[in-house]
């Protein structure tokens, strides 16, 4: 009877001997959105975990084909609600590349500032939620407190706290005022020491290390083979960052390091490496924001574009380094005022595909640590 009930589910799972099918999600506290795992376990040990995605499929790619280029920007916020700025950025970059629009220098700098602040905010949620999944609830609330400061800054900067729609084709929507600049600097002064405090609280906690180190090790071969991107890839020790590999915007003007996993507390590529790379990345983002604020050039923030933007037949692929890794857009135009085809490639999508392989032999609690350390956001998988 159980088999019949499950037969309509997409991943086919057949329990063998003493195995049990455990249905984790979509209503589960630590699946970070609406995800479903069909777990075949023997007691606590997972034999197979089959991810079942699609609960948040909204057909953004189809919607894009019916929406004019400039009007589509708010949709991109909804791809990844934790780091909406990157989706904005990659989309407007794609349109600018296709339509051959020059972005003023000040606009590019503002984009960098907004993106890096958003990266910090996203990593705050990611690392905090990982601690929450491990069972420590305090770090998450502390990080939420810091994220609130970023949200306030973002609200002052672009009027929204979560779905920013800050980028415009040809620049950004609003200029940064002296007040916001001061607020950003004040926040950075406050935040950098807080990272150390946070590390004292949770990163170097013995139980926390025991829970994450040597758990769910992703080798370099697997990481490349499964197309991991961003901090997950760098956690496996591969120095790959789109900001360096394919420099976009004005990122080549800033001096920043690319933190990679070194096996900080255990094996290279374990959950702790992926976690700690994010912590280190936040520090780098702080330094990038400082540099950008120091060298912020005067001038326009946006080039004027035609109200009804039409792009001749062409295609391009642009990608940015989002908080969850490389986010790419493949945009095909056909001369009309809306995209012919828009394909969004996201980091969580590939990160999700590795779960089935890595989760074999883990315990149920480790699977949650794995999902947390991969920093999967469900709407980004399904789009």
């Amino acid at each position: 009877m159980l088999k019949n009930q499950l037969s309509h589910l997409k991943p086919q799972a057949t329990p063998f001997m003493e195995e049990m099918i455990l249905n984790m999600g979509p209503q589960h506290p630590s699946t970070h959105g609406v995800l479903n795992f069909l777990i075949i376990t023997d007691g606590e040990v997972i034999h197979q975990a089959l991810p079942n995605v699609g609960y948040l499929h909204r057909g953004i790619e189809k919607l894009a084909e019916q929406t004019p280029y400039t009007t589509f920007i708010p949709f991109t916020d909804r791809i990844d609600y934790l780091s909406a700025m990157f989706a904005n950025h990659v989309y407007v970059m794609a349109v600018e590349t296709l339509a051959n629009i020059e972005v003023p220098e000040r606009g590019e700098y503002l984009r960098v500032i907004a993106c890096e602040l958003n990266r910090i905010a996203s990593h705050l949620i990611s690392t905090g939620a990982l601690a929450l999944d491990i069972g420590a609830s305090t770090p998450f609330v502390h990080w939420i407190r810091e994220r609130e400061c970023i949200n306030d800054i973002m609200e002052a900067l672009c009027g929204a706290r979560l779905t920013y729609s800050y980028m415009r084709v040809g620049g950004v929507s609003r200029d940064i005022s002296q007040n916001i600049k001061d607020a950003v600097l004040k926040f950075l002064d406050h935040f950098e020491p807080i990272i150390d405090e946070y590390n004292r609280l949770i990163s170097f906690n013995g139980i926390f290390i025991k829970r994450l180190a040597n758990v769910a090790i992703i080798s370099q071969v697997d990481a490349v083979n499964f197309g991991l991107v961003g901090p997950n890839l760098r956690g496996s020790g591969i120095e790959m960052d789109i900001r360096r590999a394919i420099p976009y915007g004005v990122y080549d003007r800033f001096d920043f390091k690319i933190p990679i996993g070194l096996g900080f507390q255990g094996t290279l590529g374990d959950s702790y490496d992926r976690y700690f790379v994010r912590i280190l990345e936040m520090k780098e983002s702080c330094s990038i924001v400082r540099q950008a604020l120091e060298t912020l050039p005067p001038g326009d923030i946006r080039t004027k574009i035609k109200r009804n933007l039409k792009i001749r037949e062409n295609e391009c692929y642009t990608c940015v380094e989002s908080a969850r890794g490389e986010m790419g857009i493949y945009l095909v135009s056909d001369g009309s005022d809306r995209p012919y085809r828009l394909k969004i490639k996201t980091g969580s999508f590939t990160a999700m595909s590795i779960v089935e392989k890595i989760s074999q032999g883990l315990m149920v609690a480790d699977l949650i640590a794995l999902i947390g350390s991969l920093d999967v956001v469900a709407p980004e998988i399904d789009r």
């Binding site: 309509h8 699609g54 057909g59 490349v224 499964f226 197309g227 085809r341 394909k343």
Partner: protein, 162 residues
């Protein structure tokens, strides 16, 4: 993709099966659909190319040409460049070699394309719908797709909010 990389490929596969096109912003290489797996293996492991990073796989529907084009975006850390491969399949019988054996991650991209565009990938380990329910009718990203009015007796559309 530079000309150098294309030359290496063309030496192996011949200039008539592999066509270089630089009219678009990212120049692409047109590969025939039955050779795509070989080309992918070659381009990934060739010591001078090493396109080891699989960025994305997208499908584009061209109803007037009666083709579905599959676009592979690859990246090489060695050359620091993007490579775009294109393979076209017939829209009525879209079938293509799966490259899951080359990049594991391509498996999920192929499932997504199978789901949304209806392309069948041969020798794929789990050729099923990924995002939509298994019993969904039609392939939404095709240009002539009409959404069914009912799904399991549930209305899929609603009146415009007044």
């Amino acid at each position: 993709m530079t000309y150098k990389g294309y030359d290496i490929l063309a030496l192996r596969f011949g200039k008539d099966t592999i066509i270089y096109c630089d009219k678009t912003l990212n120049p692409y290489i047109e590969v025939s659909s039955d050779q795509i797996q070989e080309v992918c293996i070659y381009i990934r492991y060739h010591p001078e190319l090493k396109f080891s990073f699989f960025f994305s796989l997208s499908g584009v529907d061209y109803p007037e040409k009666n083709r579905i084009t599959l676009v592979y975006h690859l990246f090489s850390m060695k050359l620091k460049t993007l490579c775009v491969l294109k393979a076209s399949v017939n829209r009525n019988h879209p079938e293509l070699e799966s490259i899951e054996s080359v990049w594991k991650t391509a498996g999920w991209f192929e499932r997504e394309i199978h789901d949304l565009l209806g392309v069948n990938f041969i020798r794929h380990s789990n050729m099923k719908r990924l995002l939509l329910p298994d019993d969904w009718v039609g392939y939404p990203l095709r240009k002539d797709y009409k959404e069914p009015l009912l799904y399991h007796d549930m209305e899929t559309s609603r009146d415009k909010p007044s």
